[in-house]
């Protein structure tokens, strides 16, 4: 039996990354994710790894790009304003097909915003963020345990598909403490014949590059990459159903919002309202299949810590055939179970 340890969400990410074989971390301080850097700074030198505080988020993501190209499991972490600065590097990483893990412990925005938890980087994370035709795998943990397990999963997906996997967390899950277990899961490693290792005079040079001056070549490359993305959409979507069997109302929420929403769903059930919850675990690919199965649902409620971003994907997933309402707080505020319960009751009136 693996032991139960009490850990902060941010530390769970760091420890899980190390267990996944990550030995290179590059970052720049920002609240509320600093514990990840602090943990790495302490641990990496003891295990033959590298922790380096870069001069900016721009530099740190480009260090990640170099390390990824060198064939290493590598990560960086930041929070919203810092993730904005990393977009250039994320686009280059996408265009060069190298694997990386990026953590965004979101805080409220826009601008310098605030340091309280938020989910308002949903669009940035799931729709691109940087320039060009590309996708990012986005994983949304809702517990400290998932901070760990999705970090390990994220490294695996990044290596498997040669792209960025992002952990889209929020300040609450980053800061909260919960007991977790690290199962001694087998860590899969991948051959990286494309990596920059030096030719040793034994092969033609490897080139890691995102420049294609001939439009037909760039188009071909983008088509190929989107075939890969289609495969991911088919195979990698993850979600949790909660009380969905007979649900007529469905709350959709991820991350910290889903935990509050679960309480509200349970309370509504005790009032006899047939309500369930779909909790997307992957935000891209969005778990559309979960909605296909929810054909008896008559109304959806998207619960978000933003002005309503995921709601667009919920509408698409329902084919815009069912009413979808928004129950939200923003700017670092979190809805109470009662606010969500009220939204469920209101939706119930229409059913």
């Amino acid at each position: 039996m693996a032991e139960r340890i009490l850990m902060k969400g941010n530390e769970a990410i760091a420890e899980a990354a190390i267990r996944a074989g990550c030995r290179h971390y590059f970052g720049y301080p920002i609240t509320p994710q600093t514990e990840i850097a602090a943990y790495m700074a302490k641990r990496m030198p003891k295990i033959g790894g590298v922790f380096l505080q870069a001069e900016s988020e721009i530099a740190s993501i480009n260090m990640v790009y170099g390390a990824a190209a060198a064939g290493m499991r590598v990560m960086t972490s930041s929070s919203s304003p810092g993730i904005s600065l990393k977009q250039e590097g994320l686009s280059y990483i996408a265009g060069s097909d190298v694997p990386a893990l990026v953590v965004n412990v979101q805080r409220g925005g826009p601008g310098l915003g605030g340091i309280q938890p938020s989910q308002s980087d949903y669009f940035q994370a799931t729709k691109g963020g940087g320039h060009g035709d590309y996708r990012t795998i986005v994983l949304a943990p809702a517990s400290v345990q998932e901070m760990a397990s999705l970090t390990i999963k994220g490294f695996d997906l990044a290596d498997k598909y040669l792209m960025t996997a992002m952990i889209l967390a929020d300040g609450t899950i980053g800061q909260m403490m919960e007991p977790i277990t690290f199962e001694d899961a087998e860590i899969k490693t991948y051959d990286k014949p494309w990596a920059l290792t030096g030719t040793e005079g034994k092969r033609k040079h490897n080139i890691v590059n995102s420049l294609y001056l001939k439009p037909d070549e760039l188009e071909k490359k983008n088509f190929e990459r989107f075939e890969k993305y289609a495969e991911i959409e088919k195979c990698e979507a993850m979600w949790e159903d909660y009380m969905m069997e007979d649900a007529e109302i469905c709350v959709v929420a991820f991350g910290i919002a889903s935990r509050v929403a679960k309480n509200a769903v349970a309370a509504a059930r005790s009032e006899g309202i047939k309500v369930g919850l779909i909790r997307p675990i992957t935000l891209w690919p969005f778990p559309n299949k979960a909605f296909e199965a929810a054909e008896n649902v008559k109304a959806f409620i998207s619960v978000e810590l933003s002005m309503g971003q995921m709601i667009e994907d919920v509408r698409l997933a329902t084919g815009c055939r069912k009413p979808v309402t928004l129950c939200n707080r923003t700017g670092g505020m979190i809805p109470s179970p009662d606010e969500i319960l009220e939204a469920i009751r209101n939706a119930g009136k229409g059913v």
Partner: protein, 250 residues
């Protein structure tokens, strides 16, 4: 200018896309000759910039990566920290290294990152068609300083080598030129030293190569080399600005 008679082994057969008379070709050859002489082609990893030398990845036979504009030193840092046994170099222009990438330059120097930086200062943005660079001279006419660089309006050109030499971090900072045979020979010596330093684990070694851009300076290759001598070198004097090991040996 034919001081190189044979193509170095560390250059591929791909023909250079550079304009006729562009010193980028000479500087590539010098780097490749040094790689050949040190026998390090098999363990070298090069970082190409955004600028005229963006396709350097096609020209060198070693493993190569293409970095975002100005980020080459950060990318090189990432590689070198993963593979300290490899030799990692960047090849960057003045817009790349001294404008958009100045933070990456200064901080990799301050960390004494054990990499080699080849910095090609041609006082202009070559690739985008001749705009003012952070190194364009006072009064220099460019597409974006059509009346000549007015230092009261847009500031003074940056002497990168002098500035970096004020830092405690870097091991070696030197400025060379490639406008005549003698300077080319000395440029090669400095480049070799910058690679040897890395192999010996001494740290950040940058060679600023005062170059030319005949195309965007609107000059013949010959006139451009003369302008290097008459206008560039007085503002950007050749010399070794920092050599920690030599200083410590004294």
């Amino acid at each position: 200018m034919a001081i190189v008679f044979e193509k170095p082994k560390s250059l591929t057969d791909a023909p250079f896309h550079y304009c006729p008379g562009c010193p980028h070709g000479i500087i590539h050859r010098l780097v490749a000759e040094v790689i050949d002489e040190l026998g390090i082609d098999g363990k070298t990893i090069g970082v190409a910039p955004v600028g005229c030398a963006v396709m350097a990845y096609d020209y060198f036979t070693c493993d190569m990566i293409e970095a975002a504009h100005g980020r080459a030193p950060a990318v090189a840092t990432g590689i070198k920290r993963c593979r300290p046994e490899n030799v990692v170099f960047t090849y960057q222009g003045d817009g790349d290294l001294a404008s958009i990438g100045m933070a990456e330059t200064v901080h990799s120097a301050a960390r004494n990152e054990n990499i080699t930086v080849i910095f090609v200062n041609n006082a202009i943005y070559g690739m985008t068609g001749g705009q003012m660079a952070p190194t364009s001279l006072p009064g220099q006419v460019t597409q974006t300083s059509p009346y000549g660089r007015d230092v009261n309006h847009c500031g003074w050109p940056i002497r990168v080598s002098e500035m970096l030499a004020t830092l405690e971090g870097p091991e070696y900072v030197a400025r060379v030129a490639v406008n005549n045979v003698k300077n080319v020979r000395n440029a090669k010596k400095a480049i070799k030293k910058a690679f040897e330093n890395q192999i010996a684990g001494k740290g950040f070694s940058l060679v600023e190569v005062v170059s030319a851009c005949p195309t965007n300076w609107g000059m013949t290759p010959k006139a451009a080399l003369e302008w290097v001598e008459s206008d560039m070198l007085p503002y950007y004097p050749i010399g070794v600005y920092k050599d920690r090991s030599a200083q410590e040996a004294k």
